[in-house]
């Protein structure tokens, strides 16, 4: 590389490793007691103390094993003005640890079990570019992003694992796949809800047997962020954007305000003004006399929750040059900052951003925060 003038730095990394997952229930060493029948003390009947089963033994538990291959490149070019890294990985998880349904005679509906295998493939990219650096004007731009595709490759007997709810586990599908009866709109003849059955025929009968994979999952394929840091004389302007794409969930809040059985009880959406009224009406809102279907496992309120958000924008002014010589203050800066100022999304709920869950139901939105500040260094 010594004679190469294009790259200032170029590094190739490759690794392969096998490891046990010590965070199977979320935290470190989470599942260590899952092989035991355990009891705990709790409040009993009539102000007494009682023993209850607190853990039901799964004596067949194994390590969840990750096999990961990673290839990466670190580079910098153009006199180190552009630097970054690219990584691609393939990670296979065997003896995948997930909740598995058990009969209620066990006193619970699910236990944690090793139930299959999962594959994750993806790429991560990170870039830093010092675009302008001339005298009292400088701009640097940064971006990072990831792409991840996962697929469940093995389940017990190849059968789906259905713990109830809007997502199920199935071979060949990503984890968190939404499994729903496809809503086919409103019957213009009578204002009733229509659905597609499993073969794609329109029917007015709702049955959970007609659920299909709708190629949407509650985990995103793309995530990342970008922004710039800039200075001009004593001014600074910094921004940071973040985005999540190809992610879906159920909009339960919208379901409530469009629920025809709740019109006399709670606030309703103005979309109900478009409700079906007479034969021939073509509309997406069923007749107000229809039953509530918002809690049915349909895709009617499953929406694209992708978003791009201006996470942070800060305008600052450096007062350093106004300070008198010999002042105990070495640096002083005033700034105004806005967090979560603008969000672009198709999501019709309050806030597309959330932890990864199958549905929103009046969840508290991320707040916008405005800050005016003074930084003083002594």
């Amino acid at each position: 590389m010594q004679n190469n003038t294009f790259f200032d730095n170029l590094k190739l990394r490759a690794s392969y490793g096998t490891s046990g997952n010590d965070r199977i229930t979320g935290g470190y060493y989470g599942g260590t007691t899952n092989t035991y029948n355990l009891y705990g003390q709790g409040t009993g009947y009539n102000n007494t103390v009682a023993y209850y089963a607190s853990s039901i033994a799964n004596d067949d538990l194994k390590w969840e094993t990750n096999k990961q291959t990673n290839i990466g490149i670190d580079f910098s070019i153009l006199n180190r003005k552009l630097s970054g890294s690219i990584d691609v990985y393939d990670k296979t998880t065997e003896d995948l640890f997930q909740s598995f349904p058990v009969s209620s005679i066990n006193g619970t509906n699910s236990i944690q079990a090793n139930i299959g295998s999962l594959n994750n493939r993806g790429a991560e990219l990170s870039l830093n570019w010092q675009a302008i650096n001339s005298g009292d004007f400088s701009v640097s731009i940064f971006a990072n992003g990831s792409y991840n595709k996962n697929e469940i490759t093995k389940l017990p007997n190849g059968e789906n694992v259905d713990n109830g709810g809007r997502t199920i586990l199935a071979e060949g599908q990503p984890i968190g796949s939404l499994f729903a009866v496809r809503w086919a709109g409103v019957n213009p003849a009578n204002g009733q809800n229509l659905y597609y059955d499993v073969d794609g025929n329109v029917t007015d009968v709702y049955s959970e047997d007609d659920r299909v994979f709708i190629d949407k999952a509650i985990y995103p394929t793309y995530q990342g962020g970008f922004g710039f840091n800039s200075t001009w004389k004593n001014f600074t302007l910094d921004t940071q954007f973040s985005f999540v794409a190809d992610i879906y969930r159920n909009n339960g809040s919208l379901g409530v305000i469009e629920d025809p059985t709740l019109t006399s009880l709670s606030n309703s959406s103005t979309s109900l003004l478009d409700a079906w009224q007479q034969p021939g009406d073509v509309t997406y809102i069923p007749a107000l006399s229809t039953e509530s279907i918002r809690n049915r496992l349909t895709d009617r309120y499953i929406e694209d929750a992708s978003f791009l958000r201006l996470r942070n924008i800060t305008l600052g002014y450096n007062l350093g040059n106004l300070l008198k010589e010999g002042s105990p203050i070495s640096k002083m800066k005033v700034f105004v900052q806005a967090e979560n100022l603008i969000t672009w999304s198709k999501w019709r709920g309050w806030d597309p951003e959330s932890s990864f869950r199958s549905g929103d139901f009046f969840d508290y939105p991320t707040s916008k925060i405005f800050t005016i500040g003074l930084d003083v260094n002594f």
Binding site: T32, T33, Y36, N37, L38, Y39, G40, Q41, G42, T43, G44, Y45, N46, N47, T48, V49, A50, Y51, Y52, A53, S54, I56, A57, N58, P101, V102, S103, S104, I105, N106, G107, T108, N109, S110, I111, D162, N163, G164, S207, E208, D209, V256, D259, P260, T261, L262, S264, L265, S266, S289, E291, S292, N295, R296, L297
Partner: protein
């Protein structure tokens, strides 16, 4: 020198090898048998009678008549949406009943949790040897209570999930007589299997239970009452005998005693009640902080009362506490069965009262076509509730007599977890299902459920269908 050196090396090598093997031996054991220090595994949890008592306390706590109270009120003609309703229980009130229904799932889960807890403590109790007669009596008493609670769990489930009480071959529920393995998936048993399992538990409990008079705990009288209920489901004439035993043992409450009973200050006719120290029962229908009702008593229930009937004032709130008084002229009828005494809406749940035994007796008399006997039995109850001598009914047919029994049960046992099951049991006798007053179903719900409607049997919950390929769903519900 060289030889010595070699031998030494060999010895050292051997020593290292031996040490290593010992070490491996120890470390293997350490790695595979990490005993969870300080954790309560099954064998150290239940070592003494006191431990079993703690397990029994847990079984009592798992007993959850709240599920019955909610289902039997909201789903039937005893309720309507309250003026403060913002969607609470509306789907259930509107009879949107599928395998995913939350109330049905809760009923199924909580009764199997009760049964599972009983089975755990019962299995532990088999490993404990009593020393001396006093300990043996205590051990027996604990086992007797566990068997009774297990019978309650099975009897409750069986009442909701079978299509036909009188068909011994019809599918009932899963009998759970031991702590199951997590991979076990059992099919539903038949009615006759379940009935005889419950009867067996109750009979064994009778032989084990000590005599005690605290009606917050299982007693011989409760077992007798459960036998009466079990026999009634099967149209078995022994219902009358068991009911009569309790009628002879407990007086009916007078009018003032009746109101005091629901304030938890009178126990004249209470055979068994579930003590409640937290968990507001009134919260089934009220926002308890504001006393705003999201579910109210129905117009039809209100209108079914004679104005002099003390039950009107136990069922519907005409006092100024808990958001009252009701304003029937403005369609406001506040449920008053769990008014609370020390704190609002916190009441013990009267799970069995002797008045129910009069009603069981009357129903058994109608079954035996003793219509005059049934009329006389109902009169005793009505006289107590109206505080005066009422006229004796005269029935011209069994149907008319059944109708009278059902109406009396509605007034006497409103909001106590019976109405849905009563309609289910009487639907073929009277050829009627649920009939709501027009005023009670204005919010878009249907007013009439035909006796043939599949929803008069609850669906096996989706959570069970997901886990258990051996289970069969009830007719009319999608899997």
């Amino acid at each position: 020198m060289l030889i010595f050196k070699k031998m030494t090396m060999k010895k050292i090598n051997n020593l290292i090898l031996v040490c290593g093997l010992i070490f491996i031996g120890f470390s293997c054991e350490d790695a595979t048998d990490i005993f969870p220090e300080g954790n309560l595994t099954s064998d150290v949890t239940f070592e003494t009678l006191d431990d079993l008592q703690l397990g029994l306390n847990g079984a009592y706590a798992r007993y959850s008549p709240e599920d019955d109270i909610l289902i039997n009120s909201v789903f039937t003609d005893n309720c309507k949406p309250g003026y403060d309703n913002g969607g609470q229980e509306i789907n259930f009130y509107n009879w949107a009943l599928t395998a995913g229904d939350g109330n049905t799932t809760s009923l199924w889960n909580s009764n199997y949790r009760l049964i599972n807890q009983c089975n755990r403590v019962l299995e532990a109790s088999d490993l404990i040897t009593a020393s001396g007669e006093a300990e043996q009596t205590e051990l027996n008493n604990i086992k007797g209570q566990l068997l009774t609670l297990r019978a309650i769990g099975h009897l409750t489930l069986a009442s909701y999930f079978t299509t036909d009480y009188l068909d011994g071959d019809a599918l009932s529920i899963i009998i759970s007589d031991r702590v199951p393995g997590t991979s076990e998936t059992l099919p539903r048993n038949t009615n006759s299997e379940v009935y005889s399992f419950i009867a067996n538990d109750l009979n064994t409990a009778s032989t084990l239970l000590s005599d005690q008079s605290d009606n917050k705990y299982v007693s011989q009288d409760l077992v007798t009452g459960l036998k009466a209920r079990l026999a009634l489901l099967q149209n078995d004439s022994s219902a009358l005998t068991h009911a009569q035993t309790l009628i002879d043992a407990y007086p009916l409450a007078g009018q003032l005693q009746y109101l005091s009973m629901f304030l938890d200050t009178d126990n004249t006719e209470v055979i068994f009640k579930a003590a409640r120290t937290s968990g507001l029962v009134g919260g089934l229908w009220y926002f308890t902080n504001s006393a705003g009702p999201f579910i109210e008593a129905s117009n039809s229930l209100h209108d079914a009362h004679d104005p002099a009937d003390i039950r009107l004032f136990a069922n519907i709130n005409f006092n100024t506490n808990n958001g009252g008084p009701s304003e029937p002229e403005n369609n406001i009828h506040l449920i008053n069965k769990y008014p609370g005494n020390a704190s609002p809406f916190l009441s013990d749940i009267k799970a069995m009262r002797v008045s129910e035994m009069y009603l069981i007796k009357a129903e058994a008399q109608v079954n035996a076509n003793n219509l005059d006997g049934a009329a006389a039995t109902l009169k005793v109850l009505r006289d107590a509730r109206l505080g005066t001598s009422t006229s004796l009914d005269s029935y011209i047919s069994q149907t008319q007599a059944y109708d009278a029994v059902l109406k009396e049960r509605r007034l006497e046992l409103a909001f106590e977890g019976h109405r849905y099951l009563d309609i289910k049991r009487f639907k073929d006798r009277l050829n009627t299902g649920i009939n709501r007053d027009d005023l009670d179903c204005v919010s878009g719900g249907n007013c009439v459920m035909l006796p043939s409607d599949h929803r008069l049997t609850l669906p096996i919950p989706q959570v069970e269908l997901n886990a258990n390929p051996s289970i069969v769903q009830n007719p009319g519900y999608a899997n």
